[in-house]
Amino acid sequence: MDDTIIALATAVGEASIHVIRLSGMGARDIVEKFFRPKNLKRWDSKENFTLHLGIFLDKNNISDQVLVGRMLAPGSYTGEDVYEINCHGGPLITQNILESCLKAGARLAQPGEFSKRAFLNGKMDLIQAEAVVDLISARTNNAAKLAFTQLNGKLSDKISNLRGKLLDILAFIEAGIDFPEDDVEDLDRISLEKNIEDALQSVEKLITDSKTGKILCEGLKTIIVGKPNVGKSSLLNAILKEDRAIVTNIPGTTRDEIRESIIFAGILMQLVDTAGIRASEDLIEQMGIDRTWRALENADLILLVVEAGCPLESDDIRIIQNYGSRVIVVANKIDLLDQPLLIEPLNGEAWIPLSVTYYKGFDCLEQEIKTRVFSGDLNCLNEPLLSNVRQISALEKSGKVLSDASQALENGFPWDIISIDIRKALQYVSEVTGDNVQEDLLETIFSRFCIGK
């Protein structure tokens, strides 16, 4: 329990301010690596229960103004040194801060881990123990595996592929070590070096890809369409005005057709301005215009607004039939219906019953957008996206130990030493896929090499 844990204390992507919490003996050292307090004297005074204004300069030299709260052991929530970084709520900023701290030695907290520490350190009474247990066990047994299967197919292939490479390298070394008199080819340092280099490149590529993931950097290109008077503008205004949606200005954006960048459902969205999605209510009438159709063609997500209970117009049907899984049909004005809405999808589109007036159904809309983005249904991920900080962190650690292996090899260290780093690299990648290392290693050895003297 002496490692330092970290987690986003606020819900992902859904607030204007995020709080990142660290707890553990190393918390102060980690924060100090990046935090430049405005009042250094006060920070150095080690005064307890204080808030400090300053700049957080992350590993990419991107800075954000933050407030850091300090609560020292044993009086803090967990009974350990706790630091809370209050930062602005953009996903890039929070992700950068999290990653910086992880790189500096913090470990992502498991579900319920802050509470667990609080309880174990005597900061919570017995009555609360059950609640702590609930928090912990809410996690599924193989959360890693589940998260992995939810990744976009291309990405999970790439990670599985990387894992296969590492497994092969390790199996080769271990077969030679454990069965020295069997028919296992002799180890050769040059090809091993090549293989490690190759694996290292895969890791680095995966990490870079994950950072340039289109959604994180550019946002989800979204268009809102629908015939007049179905409530497009009010939907848009509701989204824009909603507390949880923040209008941002992403510097360096060059796309001229972009009207608004907002964060909705925790995802950066680019609302595409075609023929005036806000001003003009007669978009459908102009559907013949090439420009509009081109915009639909290029959109990652189409929110097709219709009036609940009314039959679909031919243009609506045409959009659904052409763009299927990219379409979410927002059936507005359900408050006017006497009976539940009957939903019969035509072409893989989703239907969300909603009332803009009474602000109902937005949760479902958010959830649907998240599901579509992260399950890879939306064909917007040209390059794989690794949005999960835990997964990125595991890959980064894997890359680090692979470099160590490379270095050890260069220094002429023997196989048993090199295997230590390679095994670690394999373990980190296996954390992403949720697989077992030991069993798979033996399976690989016995299937690849004819063992049995």
Binding site: I177, F413, I417, L442
Partner: protein, 638 residues
């Protein structure tokens, strides 16, 4: 059936079976001062090697060193009767180097038998144990087939592959133990009746041939090492070659051919492995030749080794040719191998199926948890290999004695020895095939080296009363020397004015010295080794090769060693959080269903062990930690 039983005697510890596990168990218990009885089916097969005539190799050699460090017998018997020694994995690093020796089977048996006969407090008896005596849920004796009833406080079962043993050679099958011995049927039923869960495994052995007609010119000679190393930390010479390396006996390497494989394919329908005759699960690391030909169909040759069964033995073991094909096919297979065209088969290879005790029912001290006083060890627990058996036998014998003395069990942790890895894997991970120890199963491999087994374990052996004065003194001398050398290398500074040193550095492309440097620091340079700079160092004649090697390894790999030690330290804390056997896991809120089941099955002794049980998730461990704290506070409040 209605045999009159008679009271035949009372002992403190009874060991059933005198194979590699039984011998270590009995010797350990007796050496720890317990009045011990060792019962075997046949006095002529004490410590018999029914399979290959060799000991050691990666992980197995490590185990033997650990057995020796704790005061066991296997290394001594091995060194005494070796006909060839070979250090394997020489170029692959200090953690995985391991000694493998060829032993004279008969001499090995005699050496072990003599140790047993000479051991005060140990009685040997030939008999077949049919049943265990239990009283109040505790095992307290055994009854033999002839009605002799022996009482004891602990019983160690080491009955190997004898439980419901079934030999299979082609279509021929009969009840039997290994090597023409009789099986033990009633004991297996007895265990089942007691509610102990058994499984069924399969193992096998290759044919043996007479050397008379072998054309050795068609084989590649595999000689012993010129630099002699020993299994034991004690100075023991082979009675055969007396440390004269050139007198060692070689092994021979040859290859199967396309013809061999064709014969096997033609006769596959007669192979019990493929006809469905064999139901027990065999080990993946020790496949039969028919299995290899089927699974690696693209290969047109597999290697085989001819290994002499003894110093002057005419009988050779054909390693790599394990099979249960019909006898006449075995002869055909043998004769298709270049050099064996006229080979005479002395004994056919065979497969053996046998019952084993599923090891999750044991504690880490190898006691059957349901029956205090009953210990099981060796192949009976589903392992394979002489060394794995001996290591378990030693631990079971020690703990059987400690049970008598009402002391806590000796438990070797994964970070302390391969023995710990072996037992921890067996009990917590569960086994699906006969378990063989591998160095890749050890997460702290760099710490568990064969060179430092004594540094890791001899003090423990002394504490429990297994290490005698002679070994203890020998060990302490080594430690003193080692400490002296460590200190010297950590303080002695080499001067840049030392010309011969600069010259050596230049020769091996190492940066010349500008300021003084400690010997230890210089040795840490990747391109430097002790061998390269030994000539220019102050005289090292005072130190044995063993001590020099040890000190060099510690220095060269210090970074990696420190990292592993830190990990051990981190995980070690979980081992200190004890879990009592009374915990009802089904009642703990928040545990996963599988976690509950597995925890109840294995009943781990502490959180560390719990975390290694297959099916117990990290979330389950967190729940357990909260549970323990809850309980601690509830007790406090009362």
């Amino acid at each position: 059936m209605d045999l009159d039983e008679y009271f035949a005697g009372k002992y403190e510890v009874i060991v059933v079976g005198a194979g590699h596990a039984g011998c270590e168990a009995a010797l350990a218990a007796a050496r720890m001062g317990c009045d011990t009885l060792l019962i075997t089916l046949n006095l002529d097969t004490v410590a018999h090697m029914p399979c290959n005539p060799s000991l050691g190799g990666p992980a197995k050699g490590h185990l033997i060193r650990e057995i020796d460090a704790l005061g066991g017998q296997m290394a001594i018997a091995g060194d005494e009767t070796s006909i060839q020694v070979r250090m394997l994995n020489m170029g692959k690093g200090p953690a995985v180097q391991a000694l493998r020796i060829q032993s004279d089977k008969n001499a090995y048996r005699n050496s072990m038998l003599n140790a047993i006969l000479a051991q005060p407090g140990l009685t040997l008896l030939q008999a077949l144990v049919e049943r265990l005596v239990t009283k109040g849920g505790k095992v307290c004796g055994v009854v033999t087939r002839t009605g002799a009833k022996f009482e004891s406080e602990s019983v160690v079962l080491t009955s190997g592959t004898y439980l419901k043993g079934k030999i299979i050679i082609g279509a021929a099958k009969y009840e039997g133990g290994p090597n023409g011995q009789m099986p033990s049927v009633s004991l297996s039923d007895e265990l089942k009746e007691m509610g102990i869960e058994l499984g069924r495994f399969k193992s096998g052995t290759p044919p043996r041939i007479h050397c008379r007609n072998v054309d050795f010119k068609k084989f590649f000679i595999q000689p012993g090492d010129t630099k002699i190393r020993k299994l034991s930390f004690m100075p023991i010479k082979s009675k055969f070659w007396q440390d004269k390396a050139e007198k060692q006996i070689p092994c021979w390497l040859g290859y199967t051919t396309c013809d061999t494989h064709e014969i096997i394919r033609q006769n596959l329908y007669r192979a019990p492995m493929y006809s469905g005759e064999i139901k027990g699960i065999g080990p993946r690391y020790c496949p039969s030749i028919e299995d290899k030909v089927v699974r690696f169909a693209q290969r047109d040759s597999h290697q085989i080794f001819l290994e002499p069964e003894g110093w002057e033995s005419e009988e050779f073991y054909v390693a790599g040719l394990s099979t249960s094909m019909p006898e006449e096919v075995q002869i055909e297979i043998l004769r298709s191998i270049p050099g064996l065209e006229r080979a005479i088969m002395l004994r056919p290879g065979y497969a053996i199926e046998y019952d084993y005790v599923k090891p999750y029912q044991l504690s880490l001290g190898l006691e059957v948890r349901k029956y205090p006083g009953l210990f099981t060890a060796g192949q009976l627990n589903g392992t394979s290999g002489y060394e794995e058996a001996a290591a378990q036998g030693l631990i079971a014998g020690i703990n059987a004695a400690r049970r008598v003395k009402e002391l806590d069990f000796l438990i070797i942790r994964r970070s302390e020895g391969y023995m710990g890895v072996l037992l921890d894997d067996l009990i917590n991970k569960g086994i699906k095939e006969p378990y063989r120890l591998l160095t890749s199963r050890a997460e702290y491999r760099l710490i568990l080296r064969q060179d430092n087994a004594d540094l890791r374990l001899t003090e423990k052996g002394r504490e429990i009363g297994l290490v005698d004065d002679y070994r203890w003194q020998h060990f302490q001398e080594k430690v003193q020397k080692l400490n002296k050398l460590r200190k010297s290398w950590g303080t002695t500074i080499l001067s840049p004015q030392q010309e011969d040193l600069q010259l050596v550095l230049q020769e091996i492309n190492s940066t010349p010295l500008r300021t003084g440097i400690k010997i230890g620091e210089l040795l840490r340079r990747p391109e430097i080794s002790l061998a390269k700079i030994r000539g220019i160092l102050p005289d090292l004649g005072d130190y044995s090769e063993e001590v020099l090697e040890e000190a060099e390894i510690e220095i060269k790999y210090t970074g990696y060693i420190q990292k592993q030690l830190a990990e051990i330290d981190r995980f070690g804390k979980l081992e200190e959080k004890k879990l009592s056997a009374e915990i009802d896991y089904a009642q703990i809120r928040g545990l996963s269903t599988e976690g509950k089941l597995r925890l109840a099955e294995v009943q781990p002794g502490n959180i560390g062990q719990a975390s290694r049980i297959t099916g117990v998730s990290p979330a389950d461990i967190s729940v357990l930690l909260v549970y323990l704290e809850q309980k601690r506070r509830t007790v406090q409040n009362v």
